[in-house]
């Protein structure tokens, strides 16, 4: 690499140069920092409200008969230790090992069910979903895709009918000991569904649909025992 021909200025000029450089950079950095802090503050509440709105919409989509008058309550659940923590607001940060779940109530303030999260690697990137669970009927009542980067027109059919119909009334009965599910959620080829705990696959979107079945199987096996163990506490939250 050729060295640039440099007319080395006198020491005073060099000091002045360095000063000018530092002055400019720190000046701009300072103004920039202040500006960003201002914009962050100004948009913070709006963004928070947006996120809470998105979550509320998801919970309403997966649990039937929810009421606007009794909004869902957020909890942190640690499936390994069985700990349950009520969250003051949806924006609260969770400790390690905790997952966020939402309890839904109907117009009479009665417990309807719990909205649970699940995630897993799909075809494109990680897929995040929320599904509704009613302990009374021991069923999954609905599924909503929160984040997915699946192939448009093929993999993204996991967010549309008739695939979503798989998850209305999906059987997730637990055994008598209430430790695990009687029938693990299972993916079957399109058209071969015979049992209510099976997921009817999408032909042409095998990877995306098996991913959904897999993440639900894992999530139910992990969370449902813990949810059932803390059912009374959850019902009291209304």
């Amino acid at each position: 690499m050729t060295t640039a021909t440099d007319t080395t200025p006198a020491p005073q000029a060099q000091a002045a140069n360095s000063f000018a450089m530092i002055r400019t950079l720190s000046g701009i950095a300072l103004v920039s920092g202040v500006l960003l802090a201002l914009v962050y503050q100004a948009t913070f509440d709006i963004i928070k409200a947006n996120k809470e709105e998105a979550v509320k919409n998801a919970v309403f989509a997966v649990l039937p008969g929810l009421s606007e008058a009794h909004p869902p309550v957020a909890f942190g659940l640690n499936p390994d230790t069985g700990e349950l923590v009520e969250l003051a607001s949806d924006g609260d940060v969770l400790a390690e090992g905790f997952e966020k779940i939402y309890v839904g109530f109907d117009d009479a303030g009665q417990f309807v069910g719990v909205a649970l999260p699940a995630s897993g690697q799909g075809y494109g990137d990680v897929i995040r979903v929320m599904y509704g669970y009613t302990p009374a009927a021991e069923q999954i009542t609905g599924l909503k895709i929160l984040e997915s980067k699946e192939t448009p027109g093929l993999g993204d059919r996991i967010g549309k009918e008739p695939f979503l119909d798989n998850f209305r009334g999906m059987d997730v009965k637990m055994d008598d000991a209430r430790e695990s599910l009687l029938h693990a959620i299972q993916w079957v080829k399109h058209g071969e569904k015979t049992e209510p705990w099976q997921v009817d696959g999408i032909s042409g979107a095998t990877i995306s649909s098996t991913a959904i079945a897999r993440m639900l199987r894992e999530s139910t096996q992990r969370l449902l025992p813990a949810v059932n163990a803390k059912l009374d506490e959850l019902k009291d939250a209304g």
Partner: protein, 193 residues
């Protein structure tokens, strides 16, 4: 394969979701430097270097920013970190391997504005990788970039000898070739279960 495992992250970044052919990062150098196999290999090597260093630094900076609750400064800090990382790598190579330095030439400074490096930092933050996952990601991303660059340069060197219409020459041809490569790489979907 476990999606959180280092080997899956590496495979994912390198082949399944190749940085250039799938995620559209690093297109500018991909178009500019893929003319000859030799320069392509050198650029790829430089990118792998810088990615590893930047990835580690970005992980550290992000941890600090989160602790200080100033996440809105993330973008600025990442750019500063990447620029510094490039400078450091350049000085390091100049000192310990002048031959390599001469070979890499002007490519190192060019990498600073390469969206692949910043994209790497942003994605690893978004996916919340731990330190070792970050490194595996960086290695895979750099490796995938080099792979795509090598394939493209091989193709273009061959095409130099062919009778190509003037209208297509240059970027148009490279892009159409890239499209075919991208189509081919889609076949890797589902690799690693």
């Amino acid at each position: 394969m476990d999606p959180d495992s280092l080997s899956f992250i590496f495979l994912n970044a390198c082949i399944i979701n190749n940085f250039v052919l799938s995620m559209f990062l690093g297109i500018c150098p991909f178009l500019g430097v893929s003319g000859k196999r030799d320069t392509a290999l050198r650029m790829g090597a430089a990118v792998i270097f810088v990615m590893l260093v930047s990835s580690a630094c970005a992980y550290g900076i992000n941890a600090l920013l989160v602790k200080l609750n100033v996440e809105y400064l993330r973008l600025i800090c990442y750019i500063a970190v990447i620029a510094s990382a490039v400078q450091l790598v350049e000085m390091f190579i100049k000192k310990f391997s002048p031959g390599l330095f001469r070979a890499l030439g002007i490519f190192l400074p060019l990498i600073t504005t390469n969206c692949a490096i910043l994209g790497l930092a942003l994605f690893q933050t978004q996916r919340e990788y731990n330190f070792f996952q970050c490194l595996a990601f960086a290695l895979g991303a750099g490796g995938g970039f080099t792979l795509a660059l090598m394939i493209m340069s091989g193709l273009r060197e061959e095409l130099d000898l062919a009778d190509v219409p003037n209208v297509v020459k240059g970027a148009a041809l490279t892009l159409i070739l890239a499209g075919i490569l991208s189509l081919a790489f889609m076949g890797f979907a589902g690799l690693g279960g």
